[in-house]
């Protein structure tokens, strides 16, 4: 008797043929394929859109907050109260005389300088040059500021120029005033070339610059700025101690992303002998801010996306199962012409996986489109994390693979005779 199976190669279905059969199965029933994919398209699309919109929103929020807040480091002098050091000596004001230059040497610092509110006695009188106006004002804040501090404040100059290093080093009686103060004192920015002055209790300060606003320190109010060394000479040391409202402070403008590192290095660089005297306040970490936004919004929407994906999986499973039942005759014919159960399973599994992948691809495109269009309408920058976006179609593949497993198994178990009888 001959050996069983002698001389006959086993039936085989190559990966290429499996893919071709799956492709044919999909394109020959485009309507059904489209409806089958719908759940996956919605699920993956929602997944990509949710993550993209959340990242875009968080990026926008952190950008708005970060431009100023995240590039500003403040340092306060927390030295002993009632420090009795002579005026102009250190460390009575906490910061060394060359504080600006030291800070400038730290990588990431754009501008830095010392400032403090000058404490004036009750009833201090502000008035403009007698020749210009007799108006007096008692509501002007007088701030001492080093040239670095003025630069870090980023004042928007209307006329003249900011306080210079020369004016500070030589303790010149000069001042910068804001437009409101200028208006109250009757000083017209256009008249600066005639060297108008502001008299503080009779001490004249020539106005060298008028600014409309500043990004830091005086962002919310009005202030007359005089050179740091002029203030020391005229009014003495500021009072140390955080919270005294008159302690010397340093304002540091950093480059984007450098604030945290600058904050770490600043105290030791400025006051290596007593760094704890300086209280450094860095901005809130933008990553933390973004994380908080992501955590709040994305969690909820991701659950919705997962529910959509689950619905998509059930849709594919259901339709594939119906397809198996509907194509029982085809299964019978394939078995009759030599297909093995594993070939039948592979074909249906490949079809459901291909449908899932296609759904995932379309869903990803739609999701990306939603994010881009939304960002464009809002005039925001679209933020799409490639770690989530690029593998998104694979989510569809996995959904298709899992959803097709049971129907494929059922198809494989169909006996050829039963399949042909029910055809």
């Amino acid at each position: 008797m001959a050996r069983p199976g002698a001389g006959l190669p086993s039936p085989r279905l190559t990966a290429r043929d499996t893919a071709a059969e799956a492709f044919a199965g999909i394109v020959q029933r485009p309507g059904r394929a489209g409806l089958t994919m719908l759940g996956t398209v919605l699920g993956v699309g929602a997944f990509v859109a949710v993550l993209g919109l959340t990242a875009t929103g968080a990026g926008q929020i952190s950008r708005q907050f970060s431009v100023l807040e995240d590039t500003t480091v403040t340092v306060a002098d927390n030295g002993p109260a009632n420090d009795v050091a002579p005026a102009g000596t250190n460390p009575a004001i906490g910061f060394p005389p060359d504080a600006d230059a030291i800070a400038d040497h730290i990588r990431g610092v754009a501008a830095a300088g010392v400032w403090w509110p000058v404490q004036l006695p009750q009833g201090t009188n502000f008035s403009a040059s007698q020749a210009l106006s007799g108006t007096t004002s008692q509501t002007v804040n007088l701030l001492a500021a080093s040239p670095g501090a003025v630069k870090a404040m980023v004042p928007a100059m209307v006329a003249g120029s900011p306080l210079t290093t020369y004016e500070n080093d030589t303790a010149q009686h000069v001042a910068m005033i804001d437009t409101s103060t200028a208006s109250a004192l009757g000083i017209s920015p256009a008249r600066l070339p005639s060297h108008p002055a502001v008299f503080v209790n009779g001490i004249p300060y020539t106005v060298v610059g008028v600014y409309s606003s500043a990004q830091r320190v005086v962002s919310g109010g009005t202030a007359m700025l005089i050179p740091e060394k002029t203030a020391l000479k005229d009014y003495g040391n500021p009072q140390p101690g955080v919270g005294s409202q008159e302690e010397a402070q340093m304002v540091v403008a950093t480059r984007t992303g450098a604030a945290q590192e600058v904050a770490k290095e600043l105290a030791a660089a400025e006051l290596p002998t007593d760094p704890h005297r300086l209280v450094v306040t860095p901005p809130q970490s933008p990553l933390k801010l973004q994380g908080e936004v992501n955590g709040d919004l994305a969690g909820l929407f991701l659950i919705l996306a997962l529910i959509s994906l689950l619905i998509g999986a059930v849709g594919i499973a259901n339709t594939t199962l119906v397809a198996v039942l509907e194509r029982t005759g085809e299964i019978g014919v394939r078995r009759a012409v030599g297909a093995r159960p594993r070939h039948i399973a592979a074909q249906f599994l490949a079809e459901s996986t291909a449908l899932g992948t296609l759904g995932g691809l379309i869903g990803t495109c739609i999701g990306v489109g939603i994010v881009v269009i939304f960002a464009a309408v809002q005039n925001w920058t679209a933020v799409l994390n490639p770690v989530y976006t690029l593998p998104a179609p694979l989510i569809g593949s996995v959904v298709g693979l899992l959803a097709g497993a049971y129907p494929a198994l059922r198809a494989a178990r169909t006996s050829p005779l039963a399949a042909l009888r029910h055809a």
């Binding site: 199976g5 044919a24 009759a336 093995r340 050829p416």
Partner: protein, 230 residues
């Protein structure tokens, strides 16, 4: 003496029921190479059960079935699938063509599991369709073909792997008399070329084309001597 393509030894098929149905009682039958055998009998007599057993679409409950000398009853599913694909061609009454596939694609389906290159498969499928007179309808969908043409596509599909046995289950059952005559003429020609054919029919005119006729009644086979064109 010609070689035996089919050799049945006490082959039987009983459906468990209840009650048990003895669709095919223990049967001995030998069919040689080039034989043209008609199996006739009324509905429910066991004709289709015999064809399904011969086509390895069903397994017997007793006895053995040797195909080209191989005892198929001891073969694993892998080898039975291989025999179905390579040695046996089956033509069904209902054609069983895939509605969304062209005539050529339907024939190619039978070669899908053969481990041959696609170009070889396409050439063989085209040749098979030309052999049944459908060389001009390669890209036609079954819905646009007549019943006779559909059955010829089914025959091309059954023959494309050059089997040693062609099984036909009521092949003219869904055809008008003209198409039925053309189909039988085709089968006669194939048999003349040396192909072994077993045809299940209850139509005496169809059975008359065979060289041997085997009658089946209540699952019992009996050969009728002197019938048919042989």
């Amino acid at each position: 003496m010609t070689a035996h393509v089919i050799e049945l030894r006490g082959l039987a098929r009983t459906y468990p029921g209840p009650p048990p149905v003895h669709a095919l009682r223990p049967t001995d039958l030998v069919i040689g190479e080039g034989d043209y055998v008609a199996v006739t009998g009324p509905s429910g007599s066991g004709k289709s059960t015999l064809l399904h057993l011969l086509g390895l679409l069903d397994a017997p409950t007793a006895g053995s079935y040797l195909l080209d000398g191989l005892d198929t009853s001891t073969l694993p599913d892998r080898d039975r699938s291989a025999l179905r694909g390579r040695r046996i061609g089956v033509v069904f009454q209902a054609f069983h063509l895939l509605a969304y596939r062209t005539a050529l694609e339907n024939v190619l389906l039978a070669e899908l599991y053969n481990q041959t290159s696609r170009s070889t498969r396409v050439q063989a499928a085209v040749d098979a369709l030309r052999a049944v007179g459908l060389g001009h309808r390669l890209d036609a969908l079954p819905t646009t073909l007549s019943g006779g043409e559909c059955q010829r596509v089914a025959i091309a599909r059954a023959l494309v792997n050059q089997p040693s046995l062609l099984l036909c289950d009521e092949p003219t059952g869904n055809l008008d008399s003209r198409n039925a005559a053309m189909l039988m003429e085709l089968l006669d020609r194939l048999n003349s070329g040396g192909l072994t054919i077993v045809i299940i029919t209850h139509d005496p005119n169809v059975a008359a084309h065979a060289t041997r006729t085997v009658a089946i009644s209540d699952g019992i086979l009996s050969e009728q001597i002197g019938t048919g064109r042989g």
